[in-house]
């Protein structure tokens, strides 16, 4: 079990991580979700012992990354945000190097990575620099897993990777989870929250909420409407001028509308839109997404 208590990191006047407290259960796939600059990387680096906290504590199964960093480091598999493989070494050479450095061999733990590595084994004599983004990511994951870590820490593993590879990557993480490994992963993509067991929503060094993805969206209790129109700019202006509006904002190809009144209906909104002369292709009551809740939490 991982316990984070009042963890804070200060860089000069900037508070990158601000009194964060949470626990992660063993075997959990836990996500840190937030935009760039939210403090995800700093937080993960304090957990993996690469950075010293300004104050607060981390406990990894009873070990403190500050004082017991040597033991902590042997049990962690880590993929930093920057692509960390050696581009001038081949796929196989990278894997062998990381295996040797962690005091093991590829053969010994091959079963752990077989599922992932099999995707790229065909290219094992190719230099890592010539792999596609998705393949690099699979190789980096193989390298992080080769020493059979108890805890896997992945810092923005899917940034800059196309949708297909992202999907495959999350599939792999789910499989790994079944082998009992605890996984901490950070991502700026809100839609990836749904793929975690539990997530912490982060913004400006603070954790806004920790819950299951369903729990998070259930925290959004106001009625939410999606308006489909080709005249998004005009519709936004008109709706903002309505006396009952609480909030309205673009959401994918629709606009999300939240009213002050609890009992507002689709008909009310459609009526208002036609008064304003805005053509639309339908108003629907919809279930909130992670982003809706995230924005609500950001408002405080």
């Amino acid at each position: 079990m991982i316990t984070i208590h009042q963890l804070t990191k200060q860089f000069g006047p900037v508070t990158a991580v601000d009194r964060v407290s949470l626990t992660v259960n063993g075997g959990e796939l836990f996500g840190f979700i937030g935009p760039d600059g939210a403090g995800k990387t700093t937080l993960l680096r304090m957990v993996n012992s690469l950075m010293l906290p300004t104050s607060g504590e981390v406990s990894l199964w009873g070990l403190n990354p500050v004082t017991d960093y040597k033991q902590v480091r042997t049990m962690i598999g880590y993929m930093p945000g920057k692509f960390s493989l050696y581009l001038d070494l081949t796929v196989e050479e990278n894997l062998q190097f990381f295996a040797s450095v962690f005091g093991t061999t590829v053969a010994e733990n091959y079963h752990l990575i077989a599922d992932i590595y099999s995707h790229i084994e065909l290219f094992k004599h190719r230099k890592a620099g010539q792999l596609s983004g998705g393949m690099k990511q699979k190789l980096a994951l193989s390298c992080a897993l080769i020493h059979k870590p108890r805890l896997l820490i992945l810092d923005e593993p899917t940034t800059g990777v196309d949708a297909v590879s992202r999907g495959e990557f999350w599939e792999m993480l789910r499989k790994l989870k079944h082998s009992g490994i605890t996984i901490l992963v950070s991502t700026p993509y809100m839609d990836e929250a749904a793929l975690c067991d539990r997530v912490a929503l982060m913004q400006n060094g603070n954790v806004l909420q920790v819950d299951t993805p369903i729990g998070i969206t259930q925290g959004f209790t106001r009625p939410l409407f999606a308006i489909r129109t080709q005249h998004r700019h005009e519709a936004l202006q008109s709706l903002r001028g309505w006396e009952y509006v609480h909030k309205v904002y673009p959401y994918g190809e629709t606009l999300h509308y939240i009213d002050h009144r609890q009992g507002v209906t689709v008909d009310d909104i459609e009526a208002y839109l036609s008064v304003c002369g805005i053509a639309h292709q339908g108003v629907q009551r919809v279930a909130p997404g992670i982003e809706d809740r995230f924005m609500e939490l950001m408002d405080g």
Partner: protein, 368 residues
């Protein structure tokens, strides 16, 4: 141990897979040595020389004839007095003057020994060196062929005098400086860049997280460059010896030992730079400006330290290349042994200890 091996193997792969690195490591030293060695043209045909023949006998005429016939020299002037020598050098008309002593032939026959003076304009050190070398060869060959009455081996004593540049700062002088410079580039710059590259690409984070110990990372980075630097030392020395006929008067083992010591200084400096620099560009700039320029300007490589202002002379004492250059000149040119260079060796060892201590202190097992 296996971890260290894997690390070193990886380093060698990085080095040999990067064309630019290979070029810097292996081609640049040779190219630089050639450029420095041949800054003066070694086109030795028809060098203008003068003869001041106080003897005017059979032997001196024959030596003069042979020199003219060798093709290396063009006898430009027959001088009649010593007073004419300097003006001829000053005007750049002559590169060398051969002075035969009075009664040359007679002395050679009777005493079995005679002497000749070779006066060269050494402002062009390399040419002067070659001219006197060739002349000496012709003269000695002539001496060997003489049948002398006494039956003893005849000998002609040649006395070489260099004008304007008595210390003869030419290729012989530039080889030690060049070695210092190349070892600095190979060792300090390449190591610091290769360590900072890992920081820049984020792989250092993974290495730190791994069970590799800091000393293993450092040693793993140092060993490949130490070996490559040693290859460079051998290349430079063999080239200076065979291409430029530079003598190695002292012990070769001592020479290699001191060079390796200096390589260690440079490597520890490189590691130190990498603990200060956050990325490759910074490492490169520190190496260039903090190492290369002082190596070239303040070590006595190009400008003699004796002629520097007092402040710079003091500053030159903290330049490791200065001590290295002094030491290897003593070994190579003066044939000095350990007893002559112990002070330099001690100072260089001090630098190694200093930089390693600073690096270990600064090497962070964490980031930020």
């Amino acid at each position: 141990m296996k971890q260290l091996q894997a690390f070193i193997r990886k380093e060698f792969k990085h080095i040999f897979r990067d064309g630019l690195t290979v070029l810097i490591l292996f081609v640049m030293p040779i190219a630089q040595l050639l450029i420095f060695g041949y800054v003066v043209s070694t086109e030795m045909r028809d060098a203008h020389i003068g003869i001041l023949d106080h003897a005017r006998d059979e032997a001196t005429r024959e030596i003069t004839r042979r020199m003219a016939a060798s093709g290396y020299f063009k006898i430009d002037a027959m001088l009649s007095s010593e007073a004419q020598i300097e003006p001829a050098f000053r005007q750049g008309r002559l590169k060398m003057v051969v002075v035969f002593e009075p009664g040359f032939s007679q002395r050679l026959q009777k005493d079995g020994t005679a002497s000749v003076q070779l006066l060269a304009d050494a402002s062009d050190a390399n040419t002067a060196q070659l001219l006197t070398g060739y002349s000496n060869g012709i003269i000695q060959k002539f001496a060997m062929e003489q049948n002398v009455a006494s039956g003893a081996m005849p000998s002609i004593h040649t006395q070489v005098r260099m004008f304007y540049n008595e210390a003869l700062k030419g290729v012989f002088m530039s080889v030690p400086g060049l070695m210092a410079m190349i070892l600095m580039i190979v060792s300090a710059m390449m190591t610091s860049i290769s360590i900072t590259r890992e920081k820049e690409f984020g792989s250092m984070e993974v290495l730190l997280i791994s069970p590799l110990k800091p000393w293993q990372i450092i040693v793993g980075k140092v060993i490949p460059y130490l070996l490559l630097a040693f290859v460079n030392i051998l290349t430079i020395l063999s080239m200076s010896y065979w291409v430029f006929q530079m003598p190695v008067n002292g012990s070769l083992a001592l020479l290699l030992g001191v060079s390796t010591l200096f390589t260690l200084v440079a490597l520890s400096l490189g590691i130190f730079i990498s603990t200060v620099a956050s990325n490759q560009m910074v490492a490169m700039f520190i190496s260039m400006f903090a190492l290369m320029l002082p190596t070239i300007l303040l070590s006595g490589f190009i400008y003699p330290i004796e002629n520097m202002p007092w402040a710079l002379q003091v500053l030159s004492n903290i330049m490791p290349p200065k001590w290295f250059i002094i030491a290897i000149k003593r070994i190579m040119l003066q044939g000095g042994g350990m007893e002559y260079i112990w002070k330099e060796v001690l100072i260089l060892s001090g630098f190694v200890v200093l930089f390693i201590t600073l690096s270990v202190k600064r090497f962070n097992v964490r980031i930020g």
